[in-house]
């Protein structure tokens, strides 16, 4: 959800960064070497193979590096040798990169059997001993420079294929390619418009790496005397020097040193250029020396507060300077209290909670303020003291339990090592304590032996809670402990925390962006915005009388289950049925999970006998938890997926009868808007090109027509449409603006139906309603039908005419939105409503 964008796909890093400087130094060195190779005849008057002086002559003004055993000038040999090394290195790099790119594109884009065959071949080639292979091939096919280049190029492409293919697969599965395909684009269109521009910068580092290796290999071959005997390269100078054991005499200074240094320098220059592409070398943010934290005047522990944060300032340091993200926060957590800290992404709430535990990443640091934990000054405590406090008096329940557990250790081992911090126990007592802690969070004793990947998301979160609380801390900081879990599982975890809080007498600071969840349970809420706490108070008081505009915006953006609808229903669903726009008749769909052997690793029935109709102009909501089959329905309606059983009708026609052009025909009438506007818009395209894409897919080429339609669509999406805006890149847009651009791209071809797949779930609370308002205005003004896919039944109830509740591939309840919410018939629907 971050608004920050790190552009990794560029040829060179910016000149002001360390990486950029290093890359430029490499390019200068390489340029100097290339120039002296090209200008060799100007720099020396001797040909490299002419005998021009006494054998073994020592350096003189005429012969700067002296002469070899055959009386040939070594300086001239060095300069001309550069030509061979560079020529071999660069031509191998060109050939090999080209070969690798073609093979990677074929493998990555075709997938399936071709892909698997190619990748097995790559595995085999990677397994071969490289140097002996080059030697053997060179022997059988001759040692000329041309065969040498071919042979080295032939054995060097494999690692690059692996790398590039992975990138292609990533591009291919990216949301913007999926969006393009859903708009009816052909494979060719996607290749030219998206794949090539995205892939081009990734080829450069491969080129650099291959050139680097090729120069070393050529030098080694020539050194072994296996190079082209007619050519004079750096390696062959060393071969002769070695044969004459020049390094046992003083001659090494001018005979052995210079060519070796020349090779090293060339290779080093390539390594420096490659520096920016290699994540393993990327310089990390430099640490500043620890400075004492300034304590604000009058800071002292407050009675009644187990945790007290006073005038806390936190800054991030980057290569571009320092940036303060928390500006003087005051916050007290009272004994036994559940305090909710709410705010949107980037508000500083997670930074604040990590600062309390002194677990900020190295680039962030507290610059001012004080933190007291029951009279203990956390910011002045020694590292050892802090370690003793963590887990025993103040604990963390972190975000995303999958990543918080070490994948190679069992749950029991990870719980055990936390228990040990509270004091050593005899083995039996330790075992018993592990089991007891697992039971207390609703897990079973056998889970001690499980690895994290063997548990479900909810169970992992329980394990994390057990670990965090095993030493009975007084204060718990729960950082988004329910984010990423299914709606109903979130409720379970919340209930568990409330229960543990009562049993263990915990004081909890609950950090979340999920306002409805925390507002139901917290004693008090603190609203954070832009690095400060703008308001504190009881949830009900804040809801009724918010003093700060941000608090008001947050609460107003919450759709309620009771009260008036925010948007009126307008399709008259009770009247005589119009011919449906889309109809699913008894549709089933099963996905087979493949493992690498051909055997089926399991089946997953995504849809089971689903029937659904959508009338023109109707707003239908498809509601359910994760894995319910909502997105599968969207893809069936788009014609991206064919059903296994049953029929999908689009405007009365069976889509199976449309044949190969199914996707193109259906995309004329239907447009899909994706969940995540950070993924579905390609970062390298301007707003204009993004919005114009559906027109281009339909073959529109007239710039005037495109321009007029794009501007009209942007106006409909309530976006600016001046020249400055339409030439912007998505990086320069906020999340809400990006989603508006996605809707502009939808309306530019005036579809009859827009399928919106969780269109607001990646956006901050305050902009969600704006996007829904936009959808409503599009529905009303153009009579566009909407299929809203969401897990949020409250939101769907306000927007939709009708709802269909989906659970594990079946529709469990269907009807008018208000009827379903007010009188739910199904237990699952009731659970969803309770969780909303």
């Amino acid at each position: 959800m971050s608004e920050r964008y790190v552009d990794t796909r560029r040829f060179l890093a910016p000149a002001e960064t360390l990486t950029g400087k290093v890359q430029r130094v490499g390019m200068v060195i390489l340029a100097v070497i290339m120039l002296s190779a090209i200008c060799a005849p100007l720099l020396t008057s001797y040909a490299p193979r002419d005998s021009v002086c006494r054998p073994f002559a020592t350096p003189t003004a005429a012969h700067l590096l002296g002469c070899n055993d055959a009386g040939q000038d070594l300086f001239s040999q060095l300069l001309y040798g550069a030509r061979i090394s560079l020529a071999v290195g660069l031509s191998v790099a060109v050939l090999s990169t080209l070969l690798a790119t073609i093979i990677a594109v074929v493998a990555g884009f075709n997938g399936g059997l071709i892909d698997r065959l190619i990748m097995r071949l790559v595995d085999i080639i990677l397994c071969l001993p490289f140097m002996p292979l080059v030697i053997v091939l060179g022997v059988f096919f001759g040692a000329s420079i041309r065969t040498q280049v071919l042979v080295i190029a032939f054995v060097m492409w494999a690692p690059s294929v692996r790398e590039l293919r992975a990138q292609i697969l990533q591009i291919r599965s990216s949301a913007f390619v999926e969006a393009s395909l859903a708009m009816g684009a052909s494979g060719y269109f996607v290749g030219i418009r998206h794949l090539v521009p995205e892939l081009a910068p990734l080829i450069v580092p491969q080129f650099v790496r291959i050139a680097h290796n090729a120069i070393l290999v050529e030098t080694s071959l020539s050194f072994l005397g296996l190079g082209d005997p007619l050519q004079n390269s750096w390696g062959s100078i060393l071969f002769h020097a070695n044969a004459r054991t020049a390094f046992l005499t003083g001659a090494w200074v001018y005979w052995v040193m210079p060519p070796g240094l020349a090779v090293s320098l060339t290779v080093l220059s390539l390594a420096l250029i490659g520096f920016g592409y290699d994540a393993s070398l990327a310089p990390r943010i430099r640490r500043r020396l620890a400075r004492p934290i300034e304590r604000p005047a009058g800071a002292a522990p407050r009675p009644g507060a187990v945790l007290s944060v006073q005038k806390l300032h936190v800054s991030w340091d980057s290569e571009f300077g320092r940036h303060e993200v928390v500006h003087g926060v005051d916050l007290d957590l009272r004994r036994g209290e559940l305090l909710g800290l709410v705010g949107e992404s980037g508000s500083g709430k997670t930074t604040l909670s990590m600062a309390i535990l002194r677990l900020l990443r190295p680039s962030a640091s507290v610059t001012r303020g004080a933190i007291w934990l029951n009279g203990e000054d956390l910011l002045r405590a020694s590292d050892a003291t802090m370690r003793r406090l963590r887990g025993r008096r103040i604990a963390l329940i972190p975000q995303s339990a999958m990543n918080a557990l070490n994948p190679v250790l069992t749950i029991g081992a990870q719980l055990g090592e936390a228990l040990d911090q509270g004091g050593r126990r005899p083995p039996e007592a330790r075992e018993a304590a592990i089991v007891e802690n697992l039971l207390s969070v609703g897990l079973e004793a056998r889970h001690a032996l499980s690895f994290p990947h063997e548990l479900s998301g909810g169970m992992r979160q329980r394990a994390v809670i057990a670990i965090a609380l095993c030493n009975r801390p007084e204060v718990v900081i729960a950082d988004e402990p329910t984010t990423g879990l299914d709606v109903l599982v979130q409720e379970d975890i919340m209930a568990l925390l409330l229960d543990l809080r009562r049993r263990l007498d915990l004081s909890i600071l609950f950090v979340t962006h999920n306002l409805p969840l925390i507002a139901r349970h917290a004693d008090r809420l603190a609203v954070m915005c832009g690095g400060t706490i703008v308001e504190e108070g009881a949830p009900d008081a804040l809801r009724r009388a918010p003093r700060h505009t941000h608090t008001r915006a947050l609460f107003e953006s919450l759709p309620a289950l009771v009260g008036d609808r925010r948007w009126q229903a307008h399709a008259d669903t009770s009247g005589p049925a119009e011919a449906p726009l889309i109809e699913l008749r008894n549709v089933s769909k099963t996905f087979r999970r493949r493992s690498l052997g051909a055997a089926d690793a399991g089946e997953h029935q995504a849809l089971n006998d689903v029937s659904l109709t959508l009338a023109p102009g109707e707003k239908l909501g498809l509601v359910g938890g994760s894995g319910a089959g909502k997105s599968t329905i969207a893809r069936l309606c788009m014609g991206v997926l064919p059903p296994d059983e049953g029929t999908v009708f689009c405007q009365g026609k069976d889509i199976a009868s449309l044949g190969m052009r199914r996707r193109q025909i259906m995309s004329e009438a239907i447009h899909l808007v994706f969940q995540d506007p950070y993924q579905s818009l390609r970062n390298g395209m301007s707003v204009r090109d993004i919005v114009a894409e559906p027109l281009r897919i339909r073959g529109e080429r007239d710039p005037a027509v495109i321009h007029a339609k794009v501007r009209a669509a942007l106006a409909a999406a309530k976006l600016p449409h001046d020249g400055a805006f339409i030439s912007r890149l998505p990086i320069a847009l906020s999340g809400g603006q990006r989603q508006r651009v996605a809707f502009a791209r939808a309306v530019v071809v005036r579809p009859k139906l827009i399928i919106a797949d969780e269109p607001t779930s990646m956006l901050d609370q305050s902009v969600r309603m704006e996007i829904m308002d936009l959808m409503e205005s599009l529905a009303r003004e153009n009579a566009t039908a909407f299929l809203l896919i969401t897990h949020d039944i409250a939101l769907a109830r306000h927007f939709c005419d009708r709802l269909a509740v989906l659970r594990q591939g079946r529709i469990v309840e269907e009807g008018l939105a208000d009827t379903i919410v007010q009188t739910p018939q199904n237990a699952y629907t009731r659970a969803l409503i309770a969780a909303a």
């Binding site: 080694s220 046992l248 090293s264 887990g391 025993r392 690895f451």
Partner: protein, 325 residues
């Protein structure tokens, strides 16, 4: 399932290597016998002699029969006779292999220990002076051609300081197996190991550094800190151990390039391993010997990769059931 698939894949790899080795002289331009003996030799031979040699190499048979012959004799360990040395290739290889293995083993041990420890240390001190110095050193050492580094070592340790002998693998004239002999072998191992190991250590270091850094960045390390664990325990139990996983495969995978390095290094020190043998085979156009070396080296590299793949599930429980990728 995982083991079966791995075994199958390596069988295929081995077959590909064997087939390539079989086809190469037959695909090379001109009559295979020219490729096998060299055209200048063939020109001076009588028809009879040529036919006799054709028969000796099975070249009069149809291709598929030649292939079957080739495979069966490989299974029996028969790689033909070396022309220069006048003895079975398998016997020559067995004499030379131990020295190359000793050299590679030394270099592997040196580079893995030094590389992974320094890499992990560098990651721990990331962004500080020690880390930046290490990275600069790695960039520099990684750019040196190993054989040139070897020559520089000789200049330093043999010519200038006269500490270490620069020639061969064992002292000549000392009874083998005696104490002095072992000391001589060890002394002669130092420089080749360093020359080969330093460049490889630079690679290992980078992998170890980035893997450790990645592990240190994981949420489970933050959570381990929040549990109150000591930095040492976090580093060794949570970060370094997880960083070793990619290291194991990477080190095993790099054995292929290590062999190449060893071949070149041996030439500098006249080390009696496979490297000097391959150069001799090429210069003497002894193709049986050349192909024998290629097969042996490929086989060892394949076995090393197989070992890495089989070891992986033991260190990472996630691979045992699913796809390792």
């Amino acid at each position: 399932m995982y083991y079966l698939r791995t075994a199958l894949q390596y069988t295929v790899t081995l077959l590909v290597v064997l087939t390539a080795n079989f086809l190469l002289p037959r695909l090379a331009p001109g009559n295979p016998i020219n490729a096998l003996l060299g055209s200048d030799v063939v020109e001076n031979m009588t028809k009879d002699q040529i036919e006799r040699i054709m028969e000796e190499f099975d070249l009069h048979l149809p291709l598929w029969q030649q292939y079957v012959h080739y495979l069966t004799s490989f299974i029996h360990g028969d790689l033909g006779n070396s022309i220069v040395l006048g003895m079975p290739v398998s016997q020559v290889l067995m004499q030379r292999l131990p020295w190359t293995l000793l050299l590679m083993g030394g270099a592997l041990l040196f580079s893995t220990v030094v590389g992974s420890l320094l890499g992990a240390y560098s990651a721990w001190r990331r962004g500080r002076a020690a880390d930046l110095a290490t990275i600069s050193g790695v960039l520099f050492v990684g750019s040196l051609p190993p054989f040139w580094l070897a020559m520089m070592l000789i200049i330093l340790f043999s010519t200038t300081l006269q500490w270490l002998p620069s020639y061969g693998a064992y002292p000549i004239g000392t009874p083998s197996g005696s104490w002095a002999w072992y000391v001589g072998v060890a002394k002669r191992l130092v420089m080749p190991t360093l020359a080969l190991g330093l460049v490889m250590a630079a690679n290992v270091l980078l992998i170890a550094r980035s893997a450790t850094m990645m592990a240190l960045d994981q949420d489970y390390v933050t959570f381990a800190r929040a549990k109150g664990l000591s930095e040492q325990r976090i580093f060794f139990r949570h970060a370094f151990r997880n960083a070793l996983l990619p290291l194991v495969t990477n080190v095993m995978m790099s054995i292929g390039s290590l062999v190449g390095g060893a071949l070149v290094i041996e030439t500098v020190f006249s080390y009696p391993g496979l490297g000097s043998l391959i150069v001799m085979a090429v210069n003497a156009r002894d193709y049986n010997l050349l192909q024998g070396i290629f097969i042996l080296v490929s086989l060892s590299v394949i076995l090393a990769n197989l070992a890495a793949d089989l070891m992986y599930p033991l260190v990472d429980p996630r691979t045992a059931e699913g796809d390792p990728a």
